[in-house]
């Protein structure tokens, strides 16, 4: 039996906006195995991104339990969570969210520097990772000088550079055309095969969904399928 890397029990999360309480997650229960590529799909506002944020420790939960690689996230304080993210997780966002003032390689090496790598090692590893995503020759370019597809590859490199166990991707192809979407997904699946990392992808795209191992469908804060 494969190892379960992500599991939740009775996950609840709500937001209060102008005295109106929005129940974003209503008792979510799920478990994800190591090496899986999971697609989280559903209509807008169903709680996909909230689920991803809660699972990755970017957001707090109201009730329930989250376990990542056997570690309870609820028991970790803010600093421990940060360290956990730095060492065990990688993130890919729809709008790339690269730091515009740093070059591609500097963006990629940032998680390594946070994790305590020496500058030399961090630079070496970052260049290698950029090579993996096919952007070695663009390493000294600023994000503003890269195309959307290239920017997303840099984001992917930044997410992978630390060899994390889990990669969270929130609409990773939302800003890309179909060609770039396919290229990014090919790359993701290729990396998944090589590294056996777990990918949790929030997406609206049927194409992306079709390339995942399993789809979790959400509706109104609950997993429906």
């Amino acid at each position: 039996m494969s190892e379960i890397v992500i599991s939740t029990e009775n996950l609840h999360k709500s937001y209060v906006s102008k005295d109106i309480e929005v129940h974003a997650l209503k008792g979510v229960q799920l478990s994800i195995q190591k090496g899986e590529i999971i697609g989280v799909m559903g209509p807008s506002g169903c709680g996909k991104t909230t689920l991803l944020n809660c699972l990755s420790g970017l957001d707090s939960i109201d009730d329930g339990h989250i376990s990542i690689q056997g570690k309870s996230l609820v028991d970790l304080n803010d600093d421990q969570l940060s360290e956990f993210r730095a060492k065990k997780m990688g993130f890919v966002f729809q709008t790339y969210n690269l730091l515009p003032v740093l070059t591609a390689v500097e963006n990629v090496e940032l998680p390594l520097l946070v994790s305590g790598y020496s500058s030399k090692e961090a630079r070496k590893k970052s260049i290698e990772t950029l090579k993996v995503v096919g952007l070695e020759q663009w390493k000294h370019h600023l994000p503003g000088q890269l195309s959307g597809g290239q920017s997303q590859r840099v984001t992917l490199a930044r997410a992978l550079v630390n060899d994390p166990a889990i990669i969270w991707a929130d609409e990773p192809t939302g800003n890309l055309d179909s060609t770039n979407e396919k290229e990014i997904m090919d790359l993701l699946i290729h990396l998944n095969k090589i590294n056996n990392q777990t990918f949790v992808i929030v997406t609206h795209s049927d194409y992306v969904g079709s390339r995942t191992n399993r789809i979790i469908k959400m509706h109104d804060g609950e997993i429906v399928d």
Partner: protein
Amino acid sequence: MEKIFGIPATELSITLTSLVLIFGIIISFLAIRKPILFNMGTRNIPRRKNQSLLIIVGLMLSTIIISTSLGIGDTVRHSIRYVSIDYLGNIDQIVKGPGKQLFGIEYITNDDFLEIYKVASKEEKIDGIMPNIEIRLPVSNPEKDEADPQMRIRGFDYDYIDGFNLKNMDGENISTDNLSSSEVFINEEVNKNIGAEKNSNIAIYFPNGRYEFKVIDIVKNGGLSGGGGRSVIIFDLNVLQSLLMQPNSMTSVYISNVGGVEDSVEYSDEITKKLRLEFTKYQTAQAILDVIKDDQIRKIIKDESNELLSTSKELSESLLIISEESSKSEPSDEFINKISDSINLFTIISLLEENNKSEEGFLLLKYSNDLVIYRVDDEKKWSLDLAEAVASGITTIFSIFGSFSIMVGLLLIFLVFVLLASARSVELGMARAVGLKRQHLIQLFTYEGTIYAFIAALAGTVIGILLSFGIILIVQDLIDTDDFTIRPKFTFISALISFSAGMTLTFITVIISAYRVSNLNIVVAIRGLKEEFVKEKNITIRNKFINFVSSLFLPISLIYQSVINKKYIYRNILLVILFTLGIFVNIPFIAGNLPTPIVIFLRIPLIVWPIWIIFHLYKLFDRYIVFVIFILSIGLIFYSLSSMTYASFIVGCSLLLLCLGYVIKFILNKFISNSENSSQISGTIQSGLLLAFLFLPFEFFTPITGDLSQPGPWFWPLSGAAQTASAVWLLMSNSRILVSILNFFLSPFSGLKAVTKTAISYPMASKFRTGLTISMFALIIFTLVIFSILNNIGDVATEQPDRVTGGFDILGTIDDELPIDNIENDLDSNNILMVAKSSNVKIDAKESKGYTNTTYKPANMIFVDENFMMNNKWKFKYFDTNYGANEKEIWEIASKNDNLIIANANILEDDGPFGPPDRSFKTSMVDDDITDKYLEAFNVNVKLRGNEDTGQEKIVIAIIESLANSLDFNSSSSFYISMTAAESFIGTTPPVNKYYFKLSDKTQASRIAKNLQNQFLANGMNAISLYDQIVTNRKNQNAFNKLFQGFSSLGLVVGVAAIGVLTVRAVVERRQSIGVLRAIGFRSSMIRTQFLIESTFVTFLGVILGVLLGTWQSWNIFLEITKEIEGASFVFPWLNIGIFVGITILASIVASIIPSNEASKIYPAEALRYE
């Protein structure tokens, strides 16, 4: 304050207030027309309370600085006026003898008084004429053992009390008629000074002995009884005449004008003029007119009048009147009035000499001695004018130092609106997308800015008032004087000017920012991608040329637009009317008959017009504008060399260097494909060249250009701003290198590197706003560093006091009327090693035939004894080595030869930028560029002041350095000569009036000075320890330096506020980045540290740049100072500057702590969700 920067305060306030009102009316009109825009613009103010508060704080700093400067000026003016009014009371004018007496007091007779009375009593606007004696004598209070060696003693004839008064402290009138020969009144100050009270006995030392008097009553200050810190003892006139053995004599006649104590001064000009007319010899005035009426001489006088307009307006006006009235065949009243003022006449004499009219100058000098029967001094008006001049001067100095902070404040306002625009870019982009025009965006932003500006100007004015009082109280505490009490004051006019000036400056900056905002690219703004502006539309050369020509004939093109094209008819008609009025108002007749605010307002379009032409010229030439700038720079350089003006030379050369840099950039662009690289190289070359040029030593170009005339005080703040701007430009051009260097040094610390990398990269990527913030700190630190360093350079007097004191320890000054016989016999030889003597006589001096300055000008001849010559340790600036190899040998030879004299440094030409030119004797024999000490001895012709003889030839063999004058603030051109020469020069031995004592133990100087003062009280000796005086001066100088430093450092508050604003903005702008950083593992403390490092880094860059630039500029100033003060050392005040740097950086950290903390608390998911 009557004038600010030479502009009448009332007119300035009306003009500025009118401008504010006009802005207000326009804004209100537009707001009523489209209230939706007003609502959209202003709704953010209550919604974002904290941000609004921060913006208002940022905006009000310029107003605070203006308000503080004016408040200090008001207080100084009020304090000096108070002293004058308290002292003079009802006395408006004083009539005295003709001033021909060489030594002692000049008396006039009772017959003279009757003649003066006869003339003055006919004048309706005179309500009091009081004959009096005023002399200074030593006074002691034996009961309290207190004494004053030189107290004022006055005697009045109570029969003439009309128009004046003498009241005791209970407000009752008291009369000198009731005083017996052993009774006196005293004023309040005597009570404070020597502790005398009602019924006390005081002793007065008359020339014929000591007498005791009973104090009958204490008189309230003001008028006859004096005051304003000056002690006065009052006698009956007859009694005082007998005691002084001067029957039927008096020293002056006080004149009181009708009206109250302050408003009586408005008749002063009229009455002074009438009295001067009566007391001036008509025939002599006619003779003077006959000399001056020559067309060439009149032109010389008129030219000088124009020249003096900016530095000495009163003298300039007087010269203009003399020049105009000289065209008449007989002397007019105006002419006689002006010519009887010796300052005017001596100015004309000097002018004639400068223009090779020595013969005419000599004639005028001869007539001047016989022109006046009695002198009429407009005492009160002069005192109040002086108060005004000092207050204006102080306001100007504070405004100049404050202008750095004001500039920084304006940068902050600009920065605030740049940030505001970037925060609102999406909102504004959307507004544009749904149909708002560019002008609507300008309006939107202007509404918001106007409300901020109004609140900020109001708050700034109030805070400025409080701050000026605070500064004044600190000064009162710091300066070492009991004679002068500072009385806080802030006038309504100053408040109005502060508010309106602050509001206007802020408003203009808001309009510029709003215009910049309105240029935003709609798509880019909506997507919130990046700050980017609309690309210029392609306009054909032909259209650009047409636009340029239209701008040249703007009113005509506006009419054409309205009539032919039927466009903007109403707007254009209004503009045409304004331009036409602007042209008309320049006709002198019309301008002269309109109130100044209206003239200023109507001239505004004529300021806008040239700017419009330059704008279209720039559009026409586009990047080839460099050729226009090149021609302009060459023109300016040629102009500067022909008119010998420094400012235009500097501006011309700076523009030329910019052109050179532009050409280099053009060439680089041909060879370097990467535009970033070529920009970096060309930016470095341009800014580097400019920086190096602006920091060249002041007289670097003098060998090529000759002595260029120094610019006014306004030049230095602008020059400082240009120096700082070029340095910041150089730094920001090389930001990539700076980041690489820092990254290299931080590379061993990976955790820290992650934080610092982002902390440094962000500000370096926003070059414009970071450059602005760095400039703010650099500008202020630049001035503070110059202050600190220069303050230390001036310490030579304390380190080498002998160069100031001449090696003497005590200076004792006595009255001519109370001489000491054989002082040596009375001195305690255990304490006093030696005493030297000197005697001062007023002379006229000129260079001998064959030299340049050959018309007599005022100077002093100081006769000194052998002890003085053989023992003094003053250093020479120049000396003739043919007469001796060093100072000692030169003094020795001068002591033996009555024809050899040694001059003080005042005989050297000094063309400083402040005040009117010095009219006393100057030599043409010393070129300022002489760097060695060698002087070729030269002849001068000297004669007693007022004598008509041919004078005597003397040889100047040395000139003492200016440091020797440090304790003598009123020193004028003087020559030191052996006492043995007095007999042949003036026919008698002059009375000794200064004694220099050398002590066996210098540390006892203060005690011995006090003893000497007591010992020679009967001679009115005022003895001071010279070293104590140096220390006191130094202390007062330090107090003022600290005050200026404190005032200048207000700008640092602006800088710190800017850092706060920037950090708040950065946190808002980079919310998503914060989320990403948290996602990839940044702890919350790392986020806080990142923002703190960022703000500290920017502050640090500004501070370091300021320290470097300030030190560099101080070095240049130091090089100039060492020409004057040999041995001055350049010391970098580490502690003082360290404190400034430390406080600044600490304050920046404090200012950014709150937003940094806020940033660290943002939850990652929340930050990522934010758009």
